[in-house]
Each structure stands twice: as C-alpha cells, then as structure tokens.
Amino acid sequence: MAIDLKAVEQLATDQSSLKAAASLAKPAKWSGVGGSADGALIWGECAGSGANPYRVMADLRDLGNKCTCPSRKFPCKHVLGLLWLNAEAIVPFAPADTPAWVSDWLGRRRGTSAARPANVAPSGDAKDLRAARALEAEAAEDPKDAARREAQAAKRNEETERAILDALDALEQWIGDQLRLGLAGFIDDATARCRRIAARLVDGKAAVLAGRIDELPSRLLALEAGDRPRGAVVELGKLVLLARAFRATPRDAEIRRAVATSETRETVLADPQALRVDTQWEVLAEQVQTRRDGLVSQTTWLLNLAAAGPRFAMLLDFFPASAGRRGSVFTPGVRFRGELVFYPSQQPLRALLVRRDAAEETLTLEWPAPDEVFSDALTRPLLAEPWTIDIPLLLPQGRFARDDAGHAWWRSGDGTATLPVASNAEGLLCGTDLTRTAAIWSGNRLTILAAQTPWGRIGSHD
C-alpha cells in the first residue's frame, strides 16, 4: 500500500508540523522501522526530545495513526515523519510480525471503518511541502552578537544562582522551624507544609528540589507510623546535605540537576565528557507516576548485560498529566543492543537513548552476577551522593518470605540479609527461588523490578 507526500501534506495541521516532520524524515532519527506483510500498517520508534523514544504507528488504509509523544497536535510531527519516510522510501519498511503494541492500538481503535480510507478534508491553511523541505540558511554570526549573548547568558545564570541560594536559605530556615515545632506536628501536617515550601522553591528556580519535597509526604506515609519520625529525620537530613552541597559547588552539573533543572538532551549529547556505553540492554521495568505537581514521570529501567560499565540505566521523562495516558515505550523483558549517553555523574545512572539497533535473535546473555558485596551495594552510592533516595540493586540469590502480618520480605540465600519489600508479593514471586533480582532500594523498602527464576524471567506485575 503506497501513500504519497501529498497525503502527508494534507494530513499536517499546519506548516510548522510539516517543517518539523521534514527534519524527522531522516534514517538517523528512527529505529525499529517495519511494516505488516500486507503493507497496511507501518511503525517505528523515533528519538524525540525525551530520554525514551516515541512509538509511532499508522494504518495506511485510512491514515489512522498514533504516537506516544505528549504533543497535542494530531497528527504529531513524529507520525508525519514516519509517513514521510514511507512515502519517499527513505528507509526500507521490512515486512515483520506486527508488534504487540501496534496490535493493542488496533484493538483500541474505534469509529471509522478500517477498510475504507477516510476522507481527509483539505484544510484551509496553505501548507507547502517545498517550503518545509527548504533548509534555513544559517546566518553567519556576528562576533559581537555572540559575545553579547554570552554575556547575557552569564548574567542570567548568576541571577538564577542567586535565586536558588536565597530559596535554599528559606529551605534551611523552614527545616529548622520543623525541628523547633516538633516532628510530630510535621508528620501530621506534612502535605500542607511541604506544599508551602515547595511553592517557595519553585519561585526560587529550584524546581527539581520542589518536586522532591512535594513527594516527601507520600514517602513518609508509606512507612509504618512508628517509623515515621526516623523517616522524617532521614528525609530532612538529606535536604540539608543537598543544600550544603549546592552552596559549595553551585556550578556542578550533577548537583544542579538535583536542585534546579536537568541539562537538555542536546547539551548531554554535545558533551564530549559524557559517558557513552554501547552494549546489550534488557528492559527491566517501566514506572509511571503521577506527581503532586501535575507532572507524570515515566521511568524506564535498563540492565546492562555486559560485564563492564554502569550496571543500570534510567531513562526519565516528564510530561504534563493533562496530556493523557501514554502508552509504554518499551516492553519489559525486551533486549536490545544500543548506545546510551549518561548524564555526567559520579555514579552514572540517568541516561538518554542515542541509538537502538534492529533486534537481533542471539541476545541470550544471562544476567550478570552482582558487582560488589551486597552490604556495600546498599550504602556505597550514599558516600558519593548522600541525598540519593532510590538505589537500583542487583540482588544475589534469594527468596521471598512473609511475616505474620502478611508483609513480604526478601531474604538472601545465605541468610545474611533480610529486606522489607514494598508491595505484597503474591503468586509466583513468593513460590520460587529468585536466582537474581533487580530492585530499587529506597532506604527502607525494596521495590522489585524483575527477577530471574527457574521459571524464567518474571516482572513485578506479571
């Protein structure tokens, strides 16, 4: 089934969509491109501005389409880009079995017949393919302009830093107040009090720290009532440490990332110092969380199957909750070879997907053995970044056990370690040996991502 560029032009909502699509219609932006044997469906994964790629799919019979990006435009530039790739045969759309995520989308589609092309009403706005294709001539830069811009940026940076330092003063003042007023009162009224200081931090450009404090009450409430004063001390203590660390090195990218904002994708990609790891990865799990500040965080956890390099990678994206529910980007358990670039850090974890190779059949590596002594793995990351909340871990052989109240615990095979598990374990997870377990340790609870067992790999929600 063939489409031509005319259809892409008609489908675009405006000229800027078309222009963006033109820049995406390049092989380097895409991976996993394929089509159904009958030529009706095409799909692909597009590297967008986030850490996770977007899954893009289209039905060529009626040009129905879907993309996992949060754009409000329909169709978005990624869909137009995929159609463009197809119309001009820029990359081969190899016939393949329809992936499950495409089938899932088909199952949810309703409305117009799948068998007849919908009438695409030509929109009134003039859209012009040629104009979209035209490359903007790069204006030669005036050295004076460049210098002026740099000076402006430096000034802005200084102002931001000043604002953050002021906000951190307010934060420490607030923490001191909580101690003076008593942690008992703080625990009872944590949500409102945290909201107030978080709002102050947002004004002071410490947005990431504000988000963290907004989530503090829910972490506290997840603890047993008797453990909450300890939990409050740990949480507030970490905030003091982070504030002090920022004062000491306000330009440190890693600390700034924990307080204010993260670098853009472009900055990380352009950074020659940034660690790049090209290896085989397994998708452990995806976590989607709606936060109190109205953002939804989407976290994909990857396990490095090779002997060397960072053991885990975390692809983290945020999008507004109002953009609606997004489909998954990865299927847990999938393995792929690909290149990741890590945000500069003493303990590289957060990363961006740079390139993902077409699926190979021969990815049958076992999970690696844990890299270090278990007790060290729990605490070592805190030496470098004592404010860290979540530590991904690869646990040695172990098994689930239950206490009298029905709460689940993970116990190591040698019996030396017993850790509380966040959720109630049911079914297979507590009825078999866990030869390897990938989990997140949050200082007081273990969240299981996936495990290897005699029954094969199991995910936490399987």
Partner: protein, 476 residues
C-alpha cells in the same frame, strides 16, 4: 573512643535525639560525641546534627521482621508443559482482554485440551477455583497453602485410599479420586463410603458428583444410604438424581400424576399412527408456576410412567419447539435423572428437531467428543453462530473448516460490510479461535486476512494462538 565505640554511642543516642525532635526541643546537647562537628551556634548545630543523624539512621538502621518469617513451598511443576515462551505474550493478551473469569476459563480449558498449561506468572487458579482443569490441582492446593497461615506442603504420589486420605490437599484429592473412579469404580466408592461423612456439605456435593463417572448398580446401596441419612438437602438431591439415572427413581407419586395432567398423549397419522405428546397450555399464571415447580421436582421415569409410556417413548414423542419452557424443563429433567442412553436419545431428538439451543443444557452429560460432534452438526445444519457452537462444544472441539459453515459465511459478510467497525465481531472471532483445529485456525486466518483483516488485528489473537500451538492433546 574507637570507631566501634563511637558507633555504639551514636546508636544509643539516636533514641533521645528522635524523641527530642519529635517533641520540638533541641537535640544537639544529647549528641556530645559530635560536639566538634556541630559547632557553637545552636540553630546551625541542629541542622548539622540533622544531616549527620539522617545519614546514620538511613544506613545503619533498617527494619527487622517482627516475627519469624515463613517461606512458602515451591510452586509445583504440573503434569503438562507450560506454554512455549514465544506464545506467552499472545496468551497474556487474551487473558487481559477477557475481564470475566468465564473468558479466562475458556482459554485455560482450551490449553489443557491441547496439552498445555499457562505459565504461573501469567495465570494461576485460586484455591477454590473448582472450574480449573484437573491438571491445575497442585497449583490450587499451593494457593490454599499460601493463603493459610502455617500449613505445610504435603505431596503424595500414592493412589488414594481411606488410609492416606488426609495426606492429600483438597484439589489433589478430588483429582486422585476421579482417577481412581475411572480405574476402579468400586474402590473409589469404598473410599467415599469411609470418608465422605467427615467433609463439609459443599465438598460432599463435589466429591459425590464424581460417581457419575462409570455409575453402576453397585453404587445403589451407597446412594440410597445418602438419600436416607445425609444432612444436606442438596447432597440428598444429587444422590437421588444419580439413583434415578440408574432407573431407581421414586415411584409415580401424586406429583407425577398432577404433572402428567398438564400434558396429553395423542396419536396422529392415519396409516402409520404415531404418538405425540402435547402440552396443554396452562390457563393462569398460577398454573404456569405449578407446572414449573412440578417439572423441577420430577424424575424422568416417574413422569413417563404417569403418562403411561416409557421414558424412551416420551423423548421420541415429545413435540419440540412448541412450548420452549416445557422443552427446557424436560431437558433439565433428563440431565438430572435420565440414563446415559436416554441422554443420547434426547441429543439425537434435539438435533433432528432443530432445537439445538437445548444441547448446551444437555452438554454436561455428554462425552466431550459427543458434545463436539453435536455442536458441529448443529453448526452446519442449523446455522448457529460460533459463540453458541463453542458453548455447546466445550474445549474438545477441533473443527477443520468452520468458516465454510453458515456462521462463517455470515461472519465474513459482516466483516466485509460497509459499516463494519474495527471492534465488531470480537466475541465471534474469539469463539472461532477456540473451536477450530490447528489446521482449521490456519485456514481461517488465511481467509480472514484475505477478506481484509490485518494479521496483527487483536481480534485474531485466539486464532493466531491456536494456529501456532502444537496440538498435543488427546483427540476425541
């Protein structure tokens, strides 16, 4: 002080520090070992102490289980292999799409009939899931053990007898007993005679129903004792119905005579005079009620006797499709109290008289192969839909070319029609996937994709699973 002594001192002080902060008083005076680190300014000292204590409490103090921990036994391996890894995502999707337990049971039954089981991460039965195929009995017992507080696993491979009864968990026990009944009916009955009285009413009911397999005159004395002595009315009723199947029903009582009054035996034809039983139309709602109550409580033999004919004659002479309520009631009567031969007669009569919907009610008494055969015949002759065919056929069906039947032609026409929607015919396509043989599923997929459905269409999931799955089940 050595490091260890300092650590102990810190640990000991933390209780006081936490208490002071909880109450809102200054805690630095309670941490004299850190005096140098905390400094002179009281407000600053509190913040520094907070940072240090937080780090210490976050690392050195982790939760300990309050009680001894219990480790559950391994989930046992089943007698049938788990689904091949490559097909698990497809099965998972079907399970997710089927919200109702009924839909899940259909898939689980289908897999068991083809010689496979689900992966325990995809689906496991609950302990009380009596509809799960027998092969899952060890998992049902495991679920019971997991739900209980202290039970330990006992697994025995022995044949069941009155002596080792208590070594079996309930689900495994029922399966072992069913197996014994198939092999040695008298031995199974003897075990029940010894043990049935100690079980609860629901369990008694389930175990007693196992006697319907290879039911014979040897069972009469035992069943009569249950009718006389059992405490639960439903267990008594089941025993009575089993007795009736052996021709030992109650005699023609007043009820049967009153019931017969609602029907009349007439003859028709002049040369070849044949009998026909006509239902007299009840005149008032009260009469309808009365007839229904009488039919619910009657036995086939006594009803026929009150009409002055044999049960076989009753089935042959019944006037089908005139009074649907009476038809249904008669079928229920036959299911509960008819002999195997009478059930077969009824199946034949239903097929001949185009009253195929009634087969579903009769199905539990038919052998799996017979069910499937009846369903296929009805599908071809009477144009019933795949959904009904599937309900009639149960998991044993393996139809080679279902799309050639009227239901298949109707389905293809509906899918091709101009106002077809992508969500149409979901149930029908799913049922088609359940009743087709592997080859039939392959052929159906070819024809459906040729008719315009996409290979990746999720409505075809069941067909795709069927076509990809090696059929290792016992063929009926």
């Amino acid at each position: 002080m050595t490091d260890a002594l300092i650590a102990d001192a810190i640990y000991d002080a933390m209780g006081t520090v936490l208490t002071r902060w909880t109450m809102g008083s200054a805690a630095a005076p309670a941490a004299s070992f850190w005096r140098a680190e905390l400094g002179e300014d009281p407000a600053e000292a509190e913040l520094r102490l907070l940072a240090l204590s937080g780090q210490f409490l976050g690392i050195a103090v982790t939760a300990e289980p309050a009680s001894t921990l219990r480790i559950l036994p391994d989930i046992p391996t089943l007698a049938l292999p788990t689904l091949p890894e490559a097909l698990r995502p497809l099965a998972r999707r079907i399970l997710t799409a089927k919200k109702l337990a009924q839909g899940k049971t259909e898939l689980v039954d289908f897999l068991a009939a083809r010689g496979w089981t689900t992966h325990p991460a995809d689906w496991m039965p609950e302990g009380g899931d009596d509809d799960a195929p027998d092969v899952y009995a060890p998992w049902r017992d495991w679920a019971d053990i997991a739900a209980s507080n202290n039970a330990a696993w006992q697994q025995t491979n022995d044949h069941i007898n009155a002596g080792n009864w208590d070594d079996f968990w309930p689900a495994a026990r029922k399966v072992a007993l069913a197996e014994l009944r198939r092999r040695d009916p008298s031995a199974a009955r003897a075990v029940l005679e010894a043990k049935l009285g100690h079980e609860g009413a629901d369990t008694r009911l389930r175990l007693l129903s196992l006697l319907s397999e290879r039911l014979s005159d040897d069972d009469i004395a035992f069943l009569e004792a249950i009718v006389a002595d059992d405490r639960a009315p439903k267990v008594k009723a089941l025993a009575a119905s089993l007795l009736a199947r052996l021709g030992h029903g109650a005699g023609i009582g007043e009820d049967a005579a009153e019931l017969a009054g609602f029907f009349s035996v007439k003859t028709k034809g002049i040369l070849r005079r044949s009998r026909v039983i006509e239902a007299e139309r009840p005149k008032t709602p009260a009469q309808w009620q009365c007839r229904k109550a009488l039919l619910d409580g009657a036995g086939l033999a006594s009803f026929a006797g009150a009409l002055g004919i044999t049960p076989q004659e009753l089935i042959a002479a019944w006037d089908w499709n005139v009074d649907p309520a009476a038809d249904t009631a008669l079928i229920n009567l036959i299911v509960a109290t008819g002999t195997d031969a009478q059930v077969a007669d009824a199946a034949k009569a239903i097929g001949e008289h185009d009253a195929t919907g009634l087969i579903v009610a009769l199905a539990p008494r038919l052998a799996p192969a017979e069910r499937a055969r009846q369903a296929e015949a009805a599908m071809n002759a009477h144009g019933i839909r795949f959904e009904l065919t599937q309900a009639m056929a149960g998991p044993a069906a393996r139809l080679n070319d279902p799309l050639a039947a009227p239901a298949g032609k109707a389905l293809l026409a509906a899918l091709r029609s101009d106002d077809a929607k992508p969500s149409d015919q979901v149930a029908e396509l799913h049922a088609l996937g359940l009743i087709a043989s592997r080859e039939g599923a392959r052929r159906s997929l070819e024809r459906l994709t040729a008719a315009g459905l996409l290979q990746g269409d999720p409505r075809l999931d069941m067909l795709r699973l069927n076509a990809a799955l090696d059929d290792k089940g016992a063929k009926p």
